[in-house]
């Protein structure tokens, strides 16, 4: 009789320059939901990548139901019904929902794909997650939240013995989360073991049976979730006391910087009017898919607005038809998908920071690198960006530090307003606090700041004013943030 479905013993893994895993032992019981928590870079993903055959371990052994196994590719792991749902969406955008769900796992009849059963099965799998969409439409038509659920459905199609969910809730709204959790509990009852990786410790506390806490490539503690508090977990993860971002009441000037009137984009949002004052932090709350990102993409000129919508900057009408225009008016934009449009991975930290400023730093028609280097060094220091050198490729930095480089990029450009979409998504607890402090520092310097965030804690800690968006419309504001709670924000959203 074997107690553990999976037992990973004494796993070590080195990457050039770092010890990613150091003698890690991880045990997963049958039919449990097991949380794996730790800061970014603690080794959670590496451990799970080894379990699913993406990486080879340097030393150690893996046992599946007591028998030693050896995975050299994800295929091997899938064959044993060990399935990973990665954090980054991993779908073929042009293919249909059903095709994506059964990609690599097609339902075959007489050597050909059996489309009828494929569609039926896809529908059934999605229904289990309470998703009811047309499974024949291409995946790209779905919102990121639904796409995440499609990737989970794809994993379920393998009838997993072990299901690994890496940050599954990052893009989900409350409702969808509830459905996911329900499905998780159902799977557990059927005997599936689930590894749940999350930065959201509330979810960990509520949903999981046991928790393994990792730090710097080692396991620091394995404990029943009921026997530990959130604060203890945070302290174990960080290795030192972490202070939560504290709310500070700030004074904001009365001068309006950015004034939007009647902005509309069919199918995305309708008749949006709002303004932002100098030095104000305006947090935009609302459910994923409410149109928050779309409103500000339009305001920044990435997408075009429909006639009638107007934008005024410092009282004068501004013509913003492209990001180039927006930047000329002193607006910067930090997108929600860092890898997709935030960074140029193969360029150095310095270049990623200084790209938009090259135009102003010229000597004899060429870039004045002396100045560029000194500005870069200043920001690396003042923003506490952890990077070996300014010439290190940005892809080798952690998410938090990449984000700081992106913020520095706009500060170096001398902008007056910064739009930040989910500025701390996928960033660990410590770096999160640092980014929050950075945002406040910038606002104190008079920069108008928009923070679009799905994390209520973040919104309540940062905002001078909260704007709530629901189904493409502004459903209300919360001006007195000091006394507001998460419930208040939700009430405004649904009123």
């Amino acid at each position: 009789m074997c107690e553990y479905v999976i037992e990973m013993k004494n796993i070590s893994k080195n990457f050039p320059g770092t010890k990613a895993l150091d003698d890690v032992t991880f045990q997963l019981q049958k039919g449990e939901i097991h949380a794996l928590v730790g800061e970014n870079g603690a080794g959670k993903s590496t451990l799970m990548n080894i379990l699913t055959g993406q990486f080879l371990m340097d030393s150690g052994s893996i046992f599946l139901e007591g028998k030693p196994v050896w995975f050299s590719s994800p295929k091997d792991a899938l064959a044993k019904c060990i399935v990973l749902v990665p954090q980054e969406l991993n779908l073929v955008q042009e293919l249909s929902v059903a095709e994506n769900i059964f990609l690599g796992n097609e339902i075959i009849k007489k050597k050909l794909v059996d489309w009828k059963s494929t569609y039926e099965e896809a529908k059934r799998l999605l229904a289990a997650l309470d998703v009811h969409v047309d499974v024949a439409q291409p995946v790209k038509k779905l919102s990121p939240a639904y796409q995440q659920l499609v990737s989970i459905a794809r994993a379920l199609a393998y009838l997993p013995k072990v299901l690994i969910l890496d940050e599954p809730t990052a893009v989900l709204t409350t409702n969808e989360k509830e459905n996911l959790f329900k499905s998780m509990q159902n799977l557990k009852k059927q005997g599936t073991s689930i590894v749940f990786i999350s930065h959201h410790l509330d979810e960990v506390m509520e949903q999981t049976d046991r928790v393994t806490i990792m730090r710097d490539g080692r396991v620091v503690k394995v404990v029943n979730t009921s026997e530990i508090t959130k604060e203890e977990m945070i302290n174990l993860m960080a290795g030192k006391k972490v202070e939560k971002t504290k709310r500070v009441k700030r004074k904001v000037s009365d001068e309006i910087f950015f004034d939007v009137r009647n902005l509309t984009r069919k199918g995305e949002f309708e008749d949006i009017s709002f303004n932002i004052r100098k030095g104000e932090i305006l947090c935009v709350a609302g459910l994923v898919g409410a149109g928050r990102t779309e409103i500000f993409k339009c305001a920044f000129g990435i997408t075009s607005k429909e006639p009638g919508g107007k934008i005024f900057i410092e009282g004068k009408e501004a013509r913003i038809n492209s990001p180039i225009d927006a930047i000329r008016y002193g607006i910067g934009y930090v997108s929600e998908e860092r890898r997709h449009d935030g960074i140029t991975p193969n360029m150095s930290v310095m270049e990623n920071m200084m790209l938009p400023s090259y135009g102003e730093l010229k000597k004899h028609g060429l870039i004045d690198y002396a100045k560029v280097i000194s500005i870069t060094n200043d920001y690396i220091q003042s923003f506490r960006i952890k990077t070996p050198t300014r010439d290190t490729l940005i892809k080798n930095l952690s998410g938090g530090n990449q984000q700081k480089v992106i913020v520095a990029r706009w500060m170096a450009k001398g902008i007056k307003m910064l739009i930040m979409d989910e500025p701390t998504r996928g960033i660990d607890v410590n770096a999160k606090g640092e980014i929050h402090n950075l945002i406040k520092e910038l606002a104190d310097k008079g920069v108008a700041i928009v923070v679009i965030s799905s994390e209520m804690e973040e919104v309540l800690a940062l905002a001078d004013r909260i704007m709530v968006v629901h189904r493409g419309k502004i459903s209300g504001y919360i001006n007195d943030v000091d006394t507001a709670t998460e419930e208040d924000v939700l009430k405004v959203a649904f009123q």
């Binding site: 990457f15 080879l56 990435i302 927006a326 930047i327 193969n346 990029r409």
Partner: protein, 327 residues
């Protein structure tokens, strides 16, 4: 010091080492490789493809591709011959004018690609055919002979018996392009555009302008190569540079330029172009049938990109290693 090590570890560095090694081995076997005559002929022959390769590299850096380079070379070489022979223009005016025409042809590519968001592959495939067609329509496939002696001297001249003029021109252009790519705003924009187009848009890079610039520059460089080739042969033939579009891509890729954009350099392209040249010379020196040349070149490209892929892709490398270990 570490810079040297870094260079040797790059694709271009490895290709350079291989190129020199091949030269040494062939020299030891035949004693004919490192002679002034061989080196000057080899570098001169390679310079034409390298010049076209520069343009190709710049376009590849933006994440595009230019299949029309060879046709632009041909059409500009033809205009140069027409200006000189049929219209009796001063040879230097004719050369400069026909090189500038290359910018126009390149700009047409850039215009369609950036303004209408068409795929570079398709647009340049179409213009390749069109430009090639223009040559045949105008010349009816007949050569244009009788170019002036000074034009011939420009392309055939050799300084001190070892340094051909064409190589000097190529090196000067390489220096200018390196400064442009590394130290000017537009140069960095070219890398940023190929590195991540979405990010480039958000940081306010004028994508359309950068793209048009890259294709125009590619047209200009192709034209220089075509015009010089026409001068070298003292006559224009429609077949000038027929194979250059693929040779230029080969040179760029062997020089470490990524087909996905954002990574590469023109210095690398020189090395890549030299390796192709060395391979073809060595095949002649070793008296192997020249029919083998393309097979060897193809195999070298395949090996180079394979090494590159293994170098950059950790999981691929691991799987490769695992497979070897199991054996």
């Amino acid at each position: 010091m570490s810079k040297v090590v870094k260079f040797l570890k790059s694709t271009a560095g490895m290709v350079l080492v291989v190129t020199i090694l091949i030269g040494v081995i062939v020299h030891l076997k035949t004693g004919n490789f490192f002679t002034p005559y061989n080196i000057s002929t080899l570098t001169r022959a390679a310079s034409f493809v390298i010049l076209v390769g520069f343009g190709q590299t710049i376009v590849l850096l933006t994440g595009g591709i230019d299949l029309s380079v060879a046709s632009i070379s041909s059409v500009c070489g033809m205009f140069c011959a027409i200006f000189m022979v049929r219209m009796g223009m001063n040879e230097y005016v004719a050369i400069i004018l026909s090189c500038l025409l290359g910018i126009v042809f390149g700009f047409v590519n850039g215009f369609f690609i950036s303004c209408f968001k068409l795929t570079p592959f398709i647009v340049t495939l179409a213009t390749m055919e069109i430009y090639k067609g223009i040559v045949y329509v105008i010349t009816k496939g007949m050569p244009i002979t009788g170019m002036s002696a000074s034009a011939q001297n420009l392309a055939n001249g050799i300084i001190a018996g070892i340094l051909p003029n064409v190589v000097i021109i190529m090196v000067i252009i390489c220096i200018i392009l390196t400064v442009l790519l590394n130290r000017s705003k537009i140069g960095r924009y070219i890398y940023a555009l190929g590195g991540n187009r979405n990010c480039a848009r958000i940081v306010g890079i004028p994508i359309e302008k950068v793209e048009m610039f890259a294709y125009s520059l590619s047209g200009f460089l192709s034209a220089i190569a075509g015009v010089l080739m026409a001068c070298k042969l003292a006559s224009f033939q429609a077949s000038i540079g027929e194979s250059w579009q693929m040779d230029s891509i080969t040179a760029a890729v062997l020089g470490g330029t990524s087909m996905a954009g954002g990574i590469g350099s023109v210095v690398g392209t020189i090395i890549g172009g030299l390796l192709s040249g060395v391979i073809s010379t060595c095949i002649t020196l070793l008296r192997v049938s020249s029919y083998w040349e393309t097979i060897v070149t193809g195999a070298v490209v395949l090996i180079a990109v394979l090494i590159d892929a293994l170098k950059d892709n950790a999981s691929l490398r691991e799987r490769f290693r695992a497979r070897l270990m199991r054996r």
